[in-house]
Assembly symmetry: C2
Homo-oligomer: 753 residues x 2
C-alpha cells in the first residue's frame, strides 16, 4: 500500500504533466496557423474563415500579441459561459448531453464526498484498528478507510446508513437527470426543423416476389396497407463495391496531389514511385503519370460499376426507405407490425441520412440471429480469454522469439541494455497495441451484428467495451490474475463467497485506483485537449496535399466524441466512486477533480472542435443510466461482501434490500422514461403535422424527400476537384519560411485549370 | 431405492384406481340425470336440452339399455374422432391448443423413448458397475440407468451424443409446433366474425384535466390524434361496490329459494333461520319473511348505488374503451405510443368484453410498479420460505397445541388411537390445505399486480405456480429439505458445484418420480374426468335451488381448464422426461402413458364439459414454449453436473454448448413467432376491413359497439328471477321417488311460455 507521500508524489507528477499539456495547448491554440486544429467547428459552420486578410503577414501565422498569452487560461470560463440552449443549438443535443454525464458525476459525488468526509472519515479515523497492528504496513490513507474500523464494531452502522444515503442520493440524482434529459430530447425533437427522417421509415426484409421487382412490391404493399399516408419510397442499392472504388479513387487522387505538389516545389526532378504497396515495392515508375493513369482506369471501372448498380435489378437489396405524407403516418408505420410474419416487412424509424450504415441493410433474419449468437460467444471469449493470444504473442515477442524470426538482429538484441528494454517493454507494448485495437475490434463485432445506423453501432460497441472494462480493468485490478483465471475462481466459489473475496480486496486497492485516476483521468483529459495527433496530421496534410480551400476544409479533422470508448471509461469512474464512497472516501476528491476538469475540457471541445457525424438526440442516455445503476449494484454487493468479513453478517439482509430496491428503481425509470428514447408519440407528430399544414400549405414534400436517402456514392458524383484551384496560402506552416516565393507561385498558378 | 416389484405393485394400485374412476365415470355418464354434469357444454350451446320428452319416464333418469354399458369405453374414440378444425370451432382455440400441449409431449417423448431404449438401455445394462458393488442396495431399474455405467467409461459418449440428439429433436418439435400454433392463431383471428374487441383499444392512465371530464378529455384527445379513425368511446365506472351488492343479492335470493322450496315440500311448518353468519347464530326469525325483507333492503341500496355511480363524475375511473372506425385504426392505436409521457394515455388492445378484469383498470403508474415490487418479494418468500409458517401451524396442530386451545378435547385426543392419527395425519393435512389454497394465493398476487384481463391473470399465475413447482416439487424432491435450506446450501456452494450436487441425486430419485407420475398423473387425470365435486354440487343445487329451467342452467358448473394450475403441472412432466431421458430412460413410458391418457381425457372434457370463460386465441403458447425450454436447459445443466461426477469432466465444454444453443434457439423462436401473439399486423387488419367494407357497406358500427364494453352489473339489471316461477322437474334425482306428482306437473307446464 502506498503512503500519503507516494500519492503526493504521483499526484504532483500527474498534475505537472497535465499542466504541461494545458500550457502547451494554451500556447498552441493562440497561434493562428493552428486555428483550424483548435477551432475547426467554427470553420465547418462557416463562421470563421482563413485567411484573415487584414493585418500584417506574420500575424497570420504567429500570435505576437503577448497580452493574450497572459490570459492563457481564459478558454475555461469561455467554455463554461455558453448557456446550454445555445450549446444544444451550436453542437447538437448528443454533445450537450454527453458533457452532462460529467456534470452528473459532479452532482452525485460532491454531496457524497462532503457527507463521507463529515461522517465516515471521523468514524474510520478514530477506529484505530490499524494502530494496534504494528507489524503490518499501512499508510495514513488506510486509516481513513473502513479497514481501520474493528470487526463487528458498532461503528459499521454508520457505513450501512451511509450506503443507504448514498444509494438514495444517487438514485434521486439519476431520476432527476433522466427527467431533464427526456424533456430536453422531447423539446429538441419538437423544435427540430423539417427533416427527411421525420417522414421516413426504414423497411427491411422485403419478401421476394416472382412477379414484381422490390420497388413495385414495396409500393404496392404500402399503397394497400397505408393508403392514406404512403407518399413515396427509395430503394437501396447494394453499392458496397462502388463505394470501395470511390474510396480507392480518393486515395489515388491524394497521392497524385502529393506528387504534383512535390514536383511543383522542385520542378527539376519528376518524382518517381514503386507500384507495390504504399510505394515500397515493385517497379519504379514516374509517379505523376502512374497515378494519372491509375485514376483514369479506376474512373472507368467506377462508371461501369455505377451503370451496373443502377440498371441491374439484382443490385437492389430487399430494403427500402418508405416516406409518408405526414409525420403521423411515419410514426404509425415505424411502431406497428406490418405482416403476420414478424420477420418480413420489418419497419423501424429511419435514421438520419448521414447516420445510415448502408452495408447492413440487407441481412436476412436467420443470418442475423446466427451472427448475433456468434458475436455473443466471441464477446465472451474476448472478455475472459483475451489474455491467452496476447500471452502467446508476448512469448513470440521475447528475446528468443525475435532471434528465431529475425536472426540478423541477434547481435543487437543480445546487448544487455537492448535485452532489458526488449524484455521489460515488449510485453507491455504488445498489450498496449491490443488495447489500442480493441475499440476497432468491438466496432467490427457490432457491425457483424447487423445494426443499421452508426449511432446504434456506437451504442453497442460502448456496451461491449463497458463489459470489457468491468471484467478486465475493475475486477482484473482488484483480483490480480487474468480474467479466465478469475472466471475459474468464481465458478469454484459459492455465490455468497464471491462478493466476500472481492470485497476484502477492495480497500487495499484504493491507492492503486487513485493513481489510475490521475494517470488515465487527469493527464488523459489534458492530452485530449492538446489534440497532438490531429495537430501533426493537419500540418502534414496542409504541407503536402492542400491545394484549394476545399482541400484545407478536408484536411481539417475535427473528430468527434469517441462515444464507444469514452463513455464506458466515464462509467468506470462512476463505479470507482460508488464502490469507494463507503469504503475509502479519500478517493472521492480525485474523482471529483476528474469530473470537473473533464467537464470543462469536453465543453470546450464540443464548442470549438468536434463535428459530430450524426445527431441521435441523446438516444444513448438509457444506456448511460443503466450503466451507472450497474455500478451502483456492484458497489452494494461488494460492500455486502466486505461487511460480512467484518463480523457484521447480521447486516446482510439489511444490505440485500439495497440491490433489490435499486433494480426496482431501474425498472421504474425504464418504464417512466425509456420509451421517449425508443418510440415516437403520435401526439407530438400530430402537433408538428398540423402546424406545418397551417404554415406551409403548399409544401411539395415529395420533391423534398426525393433524394434524401440516396447512398452517398450516388450523391458524390462531383467528388472530382473543382476546376478553379485556389491555392493561395496552402501551406502557412512552411510558407512562412519562403514568403517571397509564395506570391509568384500563387500568380503563376492562377491560370492553371 | 424401490425395486421392480415395488414399482409393479404401485403401478397396479394406481392403474386399478384409475380404472375404478374410469368405470365409475363410464357408468355415471350414461345416466340421463347426470347428463348436465357430463355434457354441460352441449346444453350451454343449446344443442342438447332436458327433458327428453320421448320414451318411458324411467329412462329419463336411469339408463336401462344394457348394451350401452358394454361399450363404456367408447367415449375415448369419440373424443379422438372430432377433427381439429371442428374442435376449434366447437371449443375455441384456447382449448384446442391446450390439448395440443399433451400432444406435444407425445411428439417429443415417443421418439426419444424409442431411441433411448434402443441405444441407452443396452449401454447402461451392460455397464455392470452395480454388479460389482454387492453391499449397496440397488434395483433392476438402476441397472437400466446411467448409475450402472462405470466412471470415466467410454460408454458415456453414448449419453453425450444422445443428449445432443434429444435436444435437437425437442427443439425441432418445439419449432414445428410453434409454427403450427402461430398459423392456427393467425387463421383463427382472420376467420373470426366481427367482434367488439377488434375495433377497440383499452386506454388507461387518462390524465386528469381541470376543465374537462374524463369522457370529454378522451374524446378530444382521440379526435385530435386519430382524426380519421376515432369512432366512439365507453368510460369505465368504478362499480366494484355495486358488483358486491349484486352478488350479495344473488346469494340472498338463493337462500330465499331454498326456504321457499322447503316450505313448499312441507307446507305445515314455516322454516325459521337465525340472522347471524350462515344462519348459525343470532335471533331466530321466520326465514322466508326475513330473506324477502333483506332482498328488498339490498335492492333499494343497489338502486341508490347504481344511481350514484351513473351520475357521480368521481365514479368514472381514468380509463376508457376507445373504439375505432376500422380494425386498422384500432391496430395502429394499440401499438403506438400516444403521448410523450409514456405513463399517460397507455393503449393496449382491449381484451374480449368477458375477459376484462374490471377492478384493475384504474391503477396509477407509480402504484403499479410498487405493487409489482412487493409481489416479486412476496413471491420470493412464498417460494423459498413457505415451509416456515406451515411448520408453525403444524406445531400448533400437534397434540399439545390442541390441548392448549381446546382443553375440552383433552380426554379425547389422549386416547392412543386418536393421538396417533393426529400426530400422523395432521401435519400432512395442514400442508395439503396450504397447497390447495396455493393457486388462490397466487391468483390474488397476480390480481394485485394489476393485470387487466382474466387471461393475463391466468398466465401470470401459471408462471408463479411453475416457479413454485420447480423449486419445491422438483428440486425439493431431489434434494430433500425445505426450499430455504436448499437456498442456503446453494448460496454456500460454488456455481459449478450446484449441478453436481443435484445431478448426483437425480438417478436415485427415478423411482420416486415414477410413483409420483402414477399418483399425480394417472389417477389424477382419471379423477378429473369423473368430476366428483361438480357432480355432487349439481345434484345438491338441483334438489334445493332449481325452480326454473334457467336456474338449472345456472346450477350446471361446466368449469373450465384450470390453466394456472394444470399447465405448470404438465411442464413438470416435460421437465421430468427431459431430465431422465438420458439418465434413466425407464421413466419415459410412464410419462408417455400420462400424456396419451391426459390427451384423450382432456379432449373429451373440452368437447363435452368445459365452458371457457374467455377466448384468448392461444396467447399462452409463448409461455408454454418458454417453460419447455427452461426444462430442457435444467436437464442439460443437471446432466453436465452428473457427468462431471462420473470422471467425465472433459465432456463439460461439449455439454456447455447445449444450453447456449438452446437459449439461442429460444431467442430465435421468440423473434420469429412471438410477435404473432403480442402484436397485430396491419396487413391482416386491412384485409378484414376491406372485405367488410365490400360485403357490408351500410354497417352501423357505432350501434354495434354501443354497449359492448359496459360493466356486467349494468347489463345484468334483469338478474331478478323471471316472474313465472316454473318449478316442474326441479328435482329429477329425488323426483324418481314421486313419479306420480311429476306427470301432472309436466302437463301443467305445457301451457307456460
Amino acid at each position: 500500500m502506498a503512503s500519503v507521500q507516494d500519492i503526493t508524489v504521483s499526484a504532483s507528477i500527474n498534475l505537472l504533466s497535465a499542466l504541461a499539456f494545458l500550457l502547451a495547448f494554451a500556447f498552441l491554440r493562440l497561434q493562428p496557423f493552428n486555428d483550424r486544429v483548435y477551432f475547426p467547428k467554427w470553420y465547418k459552420k462557416g463562421i470563421r474563415a482563413s485567411p484573415r486578410r487584414s493585418g500584417p503577414m506574420m500575424k497570420k501565422f504567429i500570435n505576437l500579441d503577448f497580452r493574450t498569452y497572459l490570459k492563457f487560461w481564459n478558454w475555461m470560463p469561455a467554455a463554461l459561459r455558453m448557456p446550454e440552449p445555445e450549446l444544444i443549438d451550436h453542437a447538437g443535443l448528443d454533445s450537450a448531453v454527453y458533457v452532462r454525464i460529467y456534470l452528473l458525476g459532479l452532482k452525485i459525488f460532491v454531496p457524497i464526498a462532503i457527507l463521507a468526509f463529515a461522517v465516515l472519515v471521523p468514524v474510520n479515523w478514530t477506529g484505530s484498528t490499524l494502530d494496534d497492528i504494528k507489524d503490518l504496513t499501512y499508510s495514513n490513507i488506510d486509516k481513513l478507510s473502513i479497514s481501520n474500523v474493528p470487526s463487528g464494531s458498532i461503528r459499521l452502522v454508520a457505513h450501512i446508513i451511509m450506503a443507504y444515503v448514498f444509494t438514495f442520493w444517487t438514485c434521486y440524482v439519476l431520476y432527476k437527470e433522466y427527467q431533464i434529459i427526456t424533456n430536453k430530447r422531447l423539446q429538441f425533437l419538437a423544435s427540430e426543423k423539417r427533416r427527411p427522417d421525420q417522414f421516413t421509415v426504414l423497411v427491411r426484409n422485403v419478401p421476394s416476389d416472382p412477379d414484381e421487382s422490390v420497388s413495385e412490391h414495396v409500393e404496392h404493399f404500402f399503397c394497400v396497407n397505408h393508403p392514406d399516408h404512403y407518399l413515396s419510397h427509395q430503394v437501396v442499392y447494394n453499392a458496397n463495391k462502388l463505394a470501395k472504388l470511390v474510396e480507392d479513387k480518393m486515395s489515388l487522387n491524394n497521392w497524385l496531389t502529393y506528387y504534383q505538389t512535390r514536383f511543383e516545389r522542385n520542378p527539376k526532378k519528376r518524382p518517381r514511385t514503386k507500384t507495390g504497396f504504399w510505394g515500397l515495392w515493385g517497379k519504379n515508375v514516374d509517379a505523376i503519370d502512374y497515378y494519372t493513369e491509375e485514376i483514369e482506369k479506376i474512373s472507368k471501372e467506377e462508371a461501369a460499376e455505377r451503370e451496373t448498380v443502377m440498371s441491374d435489378p439484382k443490385a437492389i437489396v430487399p430494403a427500402a426507405f418508405v416516406s409518408f405524407k405526414s409525420r403521423w403516418g411515419a410514426a404509425v408505420c415505424a411502431q406497428t407490425q406490418q405482416s403476420s410474419n414478424p420477420t418480413l416487412w420489418l419497419t423501424e424509424w429511419a435514421p438520419e441520412p448521414r447516420d445510415v450504415y448502408w452495408n447492413n441493410l440487407a441481412i436476412p433474419y436467420v443470418e442475423l440471429t446466427v451472427k448475433k449468437l456468434l458475436m455473443a460467444a466471441a464477446m465472451f471469449f474476448l472478455t475472459f480469454f483475451f489474455m491467452i493470444p496476447i500471452a502467446f504473442v508476448q512469448s513470440l515477442a521475447s528475446i528468443d522469439g525475435i532471434k528465431k524470426v529475425f536472426p540478423f538482429l541477434k547481435t543487437l538484441i543480445e546487448k544487455e541494455s537492448v535485452k532489458s528494454i526488449v524484455q521489460g517493454f515488449l510485453p507491455g507494448i504488445v498489450l498496449k497495441i491490443f488495447l489500442a485495437f480493441l475499440p476497432t475490434i468491438l466496432m467490427t463485432m457490432s457491425k457483424v451484428e447487423g445494426h443499421t445506423s452508426l449511432s446504434s453501432l456506437d451504442r453497442r460497441s460502448a456496451g461491449k467495451y463497458h463489459l470489457f472494462l468491468i471484467v478486465n480493468v475493475f475486477f482484473g485490478s482488484i483480483i490480480t490474475g487474468a480474467a479466465f483465471q478469475q472466471l475459474q475462481k468464481f465458478l469454484n466459489q459459492s455465490p455468497s463467497e464471491i462478493p466476500r473475496t472481492v470485497g476484502v480486496a477492495i480497500p487495499m486497492k484504493a491507492t492503486f485506483f487513485i493513481t489510475y485516476i490521475m494517470v488515465d483521468g487527469w493527464a488523459g483529459i489534458a492530452a485530449e485537449i492538446l489534440r497532438l495527433v490531429p495537430l501533426i496530421i493537419y500540418h502534414l496534410k496542409n504541407t503536402f496535399l492542400v491545394k484549394t480551400e476545399k482541400d484545407r476544409e478536408q484536411a481539417m479533422d475535427p473528430g468527434c466524441i469517441a462515444f464507444p470508448t469514452s463513455e464506458p471509461r466515464i462509467q468506470l469512474y462512476f463505479m470507482l466512486g460508488l464502490v469507494y464512497a463507503v469504503v475509502t472516501p479519500f478517493i472521492l476528491p480525485f474523482i471529483i477533480v476528474f469530473f470537473a476538469f473533464a467537464y470543462v475540457v469536453f465543453r470546450h471541445q464540443i464548442i470549438n472542435v468536434y463535428d459530430q457525424k450524426y445527431e441521435s438526440a441523446a438516444t444513448f442516455w438509457p444506456d448511460v443510466h443503466r450503466r451507472v445503476i450497474i455500478g451502483l449494484i456492484i458497489s452494494q454487493l461488494l460492500l455486502l461482501g466486505l461487511l460480512s468479513t467484518k463480523n457484521a453478517a447480521q447486516s446482510t439482509p439489511l444490505l440485500l434490500v439495497l440491490p433489490v430496491l435499486t433494480i426496482w428503481f431501474h425498472r421504474f425509470c425504464k418504464g417512466r422514461f425509456e420509451s421517449a428514447f425508443v418510440k415516437f408519440p403520435l401526439q407530438e407528430a400530430m402537433v408538428k403535422d398540423t402546424l406545418e399544414k397551417a404554415t406551409e400549405p403548399n409544401l411539395n414534400l415529395k420533391a423534398y424527400l426525393q433524394d434524401a436517402y440516396v447512398h452517398p456514392v450516388f450523391k458524390g458524383v462531383e467528388i472530382n476537384r473543382p476546376s478553379v484551384i485556389d491555392d493561395e496560402e496552402n501551406n502557412p506552416l512552411v510558407s512562412t519560411k519562403r514568403k517571397s516565393g509564395k506570391v509568384s507561385k500563387a500568380s503563376s498558378r492562377g491560370g492553371s485549370p
